[in-house]
Amino acid sequence: MKKILSLVLALALLLTASAAMADVVKIGVFEPASGDNGAGGKQEVIGIEYAKSIVPTVEVGGKTYDVELVIVDNQSATDKAVSAAQELVDAGVSIVLGSYGSGVSMAGGEVFADAEVPAIGCSCTNPGVTSLCDYYWRVCFLDPFQGTVMANFAMDEFGAKTAYVLSQLGDDYTTGLATYFAKAFESMGGTVINEQFTEGTSDYTAYLNNAISGGADVIFSPTSTTVASLLINQAASMNVSMPILAGDTWESSVILDAAKGTNLTICMSTFFDEKDESSPQAAEFVQGFKAWLNANPDKKTNNGGNDIVAAVSALGYDAYMVAIEAIKAADSIDSVAIAEALPSVVTTGVTGSISFDEIGDANKDMAYIKKANTETGAFDFVKTQTVAELAK
Amino acid sequence: MSRNVLHVENVTMQFGGVVAVNNLSMDINEGEIVALIGPNGAGKTTAFNCVTGVYEPTNGRIDYMGKTIVENYPSGKMKRSYAGENAGLYTKRVVNTPDKITALGIARTFQNIRLFKSQTVFNNVLIAMHMRRTSNVFSATFRLNMKEENQMRQEAMELLKIVGLEGVADELATSLPYGQQRRLEIVRALATHPKLLLLDEPAAGMNPQETEELGAFIKEIKDRFNLTVFMIEHHMNLVMGISDRIYVIDFGKQIAEGTPEEVRDNPAVIAAYLGVDEE
């Protein structure tokens, strides 16, 4: 027992010793690689990795620092997220990117705030991520906006009067988005049937039956992709005819695979569309990213085996670029200095221009709505929607 | 005549369809040593278990010091399947858990020794004194009961001295030789300050010399602690040697009662032990 222990200790020491090198700035990547959100987390990570391949160094105080990504897996669980965040802090990262999933970001935020390390959320849309944490910023829009967009879409596009809203108990992303959707939908005179399922549920037929027997016109189920594939599969076998709507997580090849060959109508809101060529940065990014994916088979596997550019990859890319800008602006690799410089960073990213409000949220006001094409197995762009349009 | 300590009246214990104790009545008076004998499976231990509250008899009543401690009548499913006598004689239900009965002053030992295996000899005795504590869990935890605790410890040591186990007080109870474990069980029972001591085969597994010593020991503690003793025993020498009276049961029923001499010559007892030829 003792021998094994000392061996393990010695090995651990050896590894930590070998990692210490000069002129490196460490950027923490706080993402799920496993669990319900593992697939999405991996797509966000490849966006960040691609960004690093474009900008691998940063000038600080006249010296060139190599960027080192410290990637940890928060396992899509809030309790595991705390350990993962501590690991990043212990590794001495200057800034953190992530996470896919709001709950883990909120959990990790406490650790980052305590250690005074700034974090930039890529696709965590729950308001609580930034409003409850002084060290969290983000580059995407928020759930109250996204929920309102989808509520409008449900009414305008499908003339829905009754919506069945399904969310996962204990998941801040799905509960939050479902709540804001329900609020918006009700305020426009619609009726909402709210239900929740527990983590690890496999059988969604009872929920779908409830939607049918409740006379719903649309289903809104902003769930993880793991749940989505089960839900779509069961909806297809039950011949569910009403449209199924969801949020940004559903913009994933998992959904396309599950929906292909069925006659379901599936729509979701998201942050980015690879076919939108109005921005030169975006076009350049899409082209470069696809080439990079095709050149790196293992990255392509992490993307779900195809070269469709996920919105979360684009956001990961943008978050990395914002982090680099912040380090430059601070002219330091000290996390506190970076945190001070971060709020005033203004850049134009591939997902639009990015500047932060006083809470730490990006001033973003446009959502893309897409539809899963069940024949081609691709996403069809439906429309964009901005806050200004909604106000009318 | 001295005071009645234990009064067992028409007790029947039925398990499913099996009547283990059948309409048993016994009386034990203060200061007596009474033995309960009978062939294997006669229902002796079951009778003990009824007295000590381990089992709830199906029918009958048990009084201790003139107060009813157990009473029951066939009810529920048992109402129909009751196979004993005197159904309808009792209408009350009095239940006492074993710990309450011990608190009233009836202590017992077990046929198959049941010491607290992980505990020392000393602690085994000490645990039996827990019942008489006045401290509550807070005062005990924060050691506000040191006076009582020290008294308990002192008394436990004295008890161990009486049986000559003080030298092994810190040994694990189960590391003792068999005979000493039996004695320790008796001492542990004494630590609850009983008036009536029930011994379930105290001499089981002992050789004649040990048995003789045990007999003397039982008499000694009886006098010393003013006990009444009720025991189940198979060693006839011991039974005949120290008992004032003997109850004999077979198939759950009493077949004889009397002084050792009376019982020894009783043909029913001889028949029960030796078997009768069926002609």
Binding site: L15, S34, V82, Q86, G170, G176 | F116, S118, I127, V168
Partner: protein, 352 residues
């Protein structure tokens, strides 16, 4: 050795421990992995000891620990979230309905008290069940508690199934150790009191214990309540350590983990549970971390086989299986650390 000298030595050792902790924290920094592991280890030690009180010392096979921790953690968090932050935390429930905040220490004690109260209510029916049935019933209650806390209707109090955060936490390792030491100390005192002896008697032989006048139900209930009280406090400390809290994490697997710690340390040994907690946490959070990282040796040419995410937990569970199978009594068996330093008196010849 006299009792007073013994006590003095104990106090001196404790002081020494805290001084040592202070210097460790100064030297390594309070965010270092060492300090993090020490914090979590201390909390798990308390929880493991509380479970040991029930499973190891009283012989009640209960699997409800996570449920009581959950109640404690939520009680603490709900009562101590600052008023100013409530609106943002209870974002779906308009700030919730609790409009007061209590001081940290009151919150911690309330956590224990509520868990104990719940244990009292649950104990009344379930403690009459035996061994496996008790285990499965307590496990079931823990799941029911979790479902109730996540219930949307209670959202204004519990924030439903959503994350609770912004409640006060501790920065230094010292208060964690202080709290854990005091609680474990109280449990040790209890175990060595007349009540503790009664608990052990029940574990060894229920029937004999009852025949010695020990009221089984009363004592089992007491052990259950006290164990839950400390589990509740442990839950509150865990919530403080994590900085955020969600009912979802308190699943049956958390109880299993604690049970494994208790078994690895030795059922019926307080020091065993403490040592095992620190080892368990250090292994899972720190020492075995390198197994999760893909590692290249010799300048990135040779990739070490097997090392990738998840391997740490595989190795860890294999180690646990080895302990369970080959070191059945755990690290300490039923002994305590101090038993090892006080050699047993030489056996005297015992007359048969």
């Amino acid at each position: 050795m006299k009792k007073t000298t013994k006590n003095l030595i104990n106090i001196a050792l404790l002081l020494l421990m805290f001084v040592g902790l202070y210097f460790l924290e100064q030297h390594f920094g309070r965010r270092s992995m060492l300090i993090t592991v020490l914090k979590k280890g201390a909390i798990y030690a308390l929880i493991a000891v509380s479970m040991n009180l029930l499973n190891g010392f009283t012989g009640l096979f209960s699997l409800g620990q996570a449920g009581f921790m959950l109640v404690g953690a939520y009680t603490y968090a709900v009562l101590t979230i600052p008023m100013a932050k409530r609106m943002a935390v209870y974002q779906y429930y308009d700030g919730g309905i609790i409009n007061f905040t209590v001081p940290t220490i009151v919150g911690i004690l309330a956590a224990g008290a509520l868990a104990a109260l719940l244990a009292m209510l649950i104990g009344m029916p379930v403690l009459r069940l035996k061994s496996d049935y008790l285990a499965i019933a307590t496990l079931g209650f823990a799941e029911i508690i979790r479902a109730i806390i996540q219930w949307d209707t209670l959202g204004p109090i519990t924030n439903g199934s959503n994350l609770l955060k912004t409640y006060p936490t501790f920065k230094s390792v010292i208060p964690v150790f202080a709290a854990a030491t005091i609680c474990i100390g109280v449990i040790v005192l209890l175990i060595n009191s007349t009540y503790g002896r009664a608990f052990k008697a029940i574990r060894d032989d229920e029937i004999a214990a009852e025949a010695m006048g020990i009221n089984l139900f009363h004592h089992k209930q007491m052990a259950f309540i006290i164990s839950s009280f400390f589990a509740g406090i442990g839950g509150a400390l865990l919530a403080m350590y994590q900085g955020s809290l969600q009912a979802n994490a308190f699943k049956a697997s958390m109880t299993y983990e604690i049970l494994l710690i208790v078994v690895i340390g030795g059922m019926g040994s307080v020091t065993g549970s403490v040592i095992a907690s620190f080892l368990f946490i250090a292994c899972s959070e720190w020492w075995l971390r390198f197994l999760d990282t893909e590692t290249y040796l010799f300048g990135g040419t040779v990739k070490l086989p097997l090392l990738r995410s998840g391997f740490r937990m595989v190795v860890f569970s294999v180690v646990i299986m080895i302990v369970v199978l080959f070191f059945r009594k755990g690290i300490m068996g039923e002994k305590e650390l101090w038993d090892l330093f006080t050699p047993k008196k030489k056996k005297e010849g015992i007359k048969p």
